[in-house]
């Protein structure tokens, strides 16, 4: 009896404690800012934080806590941030469509365009772009290169065309490329010779993986299909990047069906599509080529050194590579002032460094502190005679040159901040718009067509055998052939005759 009572009390306590968060109440003046971003995509404080110091800052607060304190100190209003996370751009889209309310979300470039096209976004305010206000850290610190991309990028909102910068502020950016294992004989030369089409080469059969998502894979298909056209463009022409971008955004019917054939070939040649096993497969040496986003590539290279004492390299193919970014946008009905304050806080160069260090991706911010951090991470030792001058002035502004070890030309530094020459061939891939359905269909067919002839035969034979077996068990007794023959001298007597 006593036991029962205790169980009852515990159960009701549990119930109460679980309901407690529901009734969480704050003072009425407190602002609530709902931020929706990727998992682990912000400095979460603690021992892993860049700001952690065992003596001076032993319990390093997270970026969110710092923002709350900073906001209250600056604007004299308490604020509470509700920070939640999503796994894919499509999850974010679904949650917004289901009516979840957020003030600030962080989708990738194409999803920003999709949300804008459907009229779900609210433009940034004019005050946000006022360069004279010292609290506007974003406009004052964003890299000229990224600012240019955002200014020149256009998207449709309803009937009109707007530039990205009116709606979105950048957060992290990068390019796509191939991680490779330089110990494999001749792989660097092969990459130079074949570019993306190395994924079709028989020499690397079952040795490469690509991402299990339609956009990244379609991009590779396009680069292989239009390889000759891309390679023959004049790389010094002022409109070179525009031309590349035009080619890498082709989605007409003829192109899509040609890409389908290429991707089918590729699928038969590669080891497989992956979402997160590529890095560990590279480190283990199961494969020697892996399609990767720059941020992931940096992590894979670090991991390989750490866990397998092995050096991996990164390569951005000569044809073209995808320039991607994740940016802050405000859904309609957002608290503009607080959301923009959050963007600005994240754009303070010290904070950009903290986030970069925690996530491992490159920030769009180019302040002095960010450059110092890059120098600190990558510069060569004085005794290194092979060190090379690595020019990053296109990103950090005049005079930003790093004295880097020569191996960094193919490694983390190259992945995180490719040289200007390379960036020229990187193209942003827009939201497919009306052609979305066509390309999704291509992907369904690519993924669905996975059975070889022998597999189909095996399946057919098994099914026939099972059906045959069942039929035999049911009706076998009625066929003379399967009936047990009576022993010599005996006779089979029918049941009716016994009675």
């Amino acid at each position: 009896m006593k036991g029962k009572k205790i169980a009852c009390v515990t159960a009701s306590l549990l119930l109460l404690s679980s309901l407690a968060p529901l009734s969480g109440c704050g003072s009425e003046e407190e602002i609530l800012l709902r931020v929706y971003s990727w998992e682990e995509y912000i400095d979460e404080g603690g021992e892993d934080s860049y700001s952690y110091d065992p003596v001076e800052n032993p319990d390093a607060p997270s970026m969110i806590e710092d923002f709350e304190a900073w906001y209250e100190a600056t604007y004299e209003t308490p604020i509470r941030v509700e920070y939640s996370t999503f796994g894919t751009n499509e999850d974010l889209y679904n949650q917004l469509k289901l009516g979840n309310k957020y003030d600030l979300v962080c989708p990738s470039e194409y999803m920003i365009m999709k949300l804008a096209a459907e009229g779900m976004l609210q433009p940034l305010s004019e005050e946000f772009f006022d360069e004279n206000n010292e609290l506007n850290y974003y406009v004052n610190n964003v890299s000229p290169f990224i600012a240019d991309v955002f200014e020149n990028g256009s998207m449709t909102v309803g009937e009109e065309t707007h530039s990205w910068s009116e709606y979105a502020a950048g957060y992290m950016w990068g390019t796509t490329g191939l991680i490779y294992n330089p110990q494999i004989d001749g792989i660097a030369d092969d990459l130079d010779e074949y570019g993306w089409s190395i994924l079709l080469q028989n020499k690397y059969k079952k040795q490469a993986t690509t991402k299990d998502n339609v956009r990244d894979t379609y991009f590779v298909g396009l680069a292989i299909l239009f390889r000759d056209e891309l390679m023959n463009l004049d790389r010094n022409a002022p409109d070179y990047n525009e031309k590349v971008t035009e080619i890498m955004n082709r989605t007409d019917e003829k192109t899509v069906s040609a890409v389908y054939e290429i991707l089918l070939d590729m699928k038969r040649n590669i080891f497989g599509f992956e979402t997160d096993t590529g890095k560990s497969d590279m480190v283990k040496g199961t494969i020697c080529l892996n399609f990767a986003w720059a941020g992931d590539a940096v992590y894979a290279m670090d991991l390989a050194e750490e866990e397998n004492d092995m050096k991996l390299n990164f390569y951005i193919p000569k044809e073209s590579a995808n320039l991607y970014f994740d940016g802050w946008v405000m859904p309609k009905g957002a608290n503009t002032q607080a959301a923009e304050a959050f963007i600005n806080f994240m754009s303070i160069p010290e904070n950009a460094v903290r986030n970069m260090d925690f996530i491992g991706y490159s920030s769009v911010i180019a302040g002095e502190e960010v450059f110092d951090y890059v120098v600190e991470t990558y510069s060569a030792e004085d005794s290194d005679e092979t060190a090379v001058e690595y020019d990053l002035s296109y990103f950090f502004g005049e005079g930003a040159v790093i004295n880097a070890p020569s191996e960094q030309l193919n490694r983390q530094l190259y992945a995180q901040y490719p040289p200007q020459e390379t960036m020229k061939r990187c193209a942003v891939m827009d939201y497919y718009g009306e052609d979305d359905a066509r390309i999704n269909e291509l992907w369904t067919h690519i993924k669905g067509e996975s059975l070889d002839a022998w597999a189909i035969i095996v399946i057919c034979v098994t099914v026939i055998a099972i059906v045959g077996g069942v039929l035999l068990m049911k009706f076998g007794g009625k066929i003379d052939f399967f009936r047990k023959k009576p022993k010599k001298g005996y006779e089979l007597v029918k049941q009716e005759n016994i009675r």
Partner: protein, 271 residues
Amino acid sequence: MNKKALAIKCLKAFFIGLILLLLYAPILLLAVYSFVDTDTIGMWGEFSFTHYIKLLGDSVILKMISNTLLLAFLAALLSTVLGTMGALGIYYSKRRTKAALSGASQIPIINAEIVTALALAITFVVIGLGKSYFTLLIGHMIICTPFVVLSVMPKLKQMDNSLYEAALDLGASPFKALFGVVLPQIIPGVISGFMLAITLSLDDYIVTSYTKPSTFNTISTYVYNATMKGNAHTAEVLSSFWALTTILFIVILGVTLAANLTGGKKKERTK
């Protein structure tokens, strides 16, 4: 003849062993790697308790685990009550209603989970409930309850109904008869329904992701989000779950063994 029997016995043991090995190989692999200081399965490192320290020392992870366990326990408790009442209702209703009711109660089992999840999410939006711990709990109860009904029903069918009638004849109120006579007979079904509900709620991702409040994370939703855009930190957290798997496995193994051993003793006694 004896030799043949022995050979068959050996073959049987071998077969069962093989199946068990195949079933548990992935868990054993995780268990081994939970004691190695790498974040990559397949890379050998040194023996260490890093993953266990991370698991037990990280408040975010602990919060996630307690969220998951508490939700599973609550959802299982409520759906066991609901499911048992449902099963009783179905069992004692008239023939035609019985068929219709038991059919309808199994719809969430037959339905693809994603359909249930979307339907729930849309319903909650339409009736203005939004998303809260309450909607999450309802979502989990909807996936668990049919299974409770399913495991209680056979016990009701096996039950000796005349005992219940006798109790009524002897002056017990229907309530007293229900708790004193019916419930003790079906309790094994209720318990197995509860266990089933806990496992279903523990590993659910789809319904959880569509009905949870956005700042609430269970292990499954975190793992899904973390694998989509991984970095060094997600890798660390994910590998600390190897330690969690190992602990859970050992606990469950212990409980099962204990239950089997004590169960065996009881049987011997009755002999």
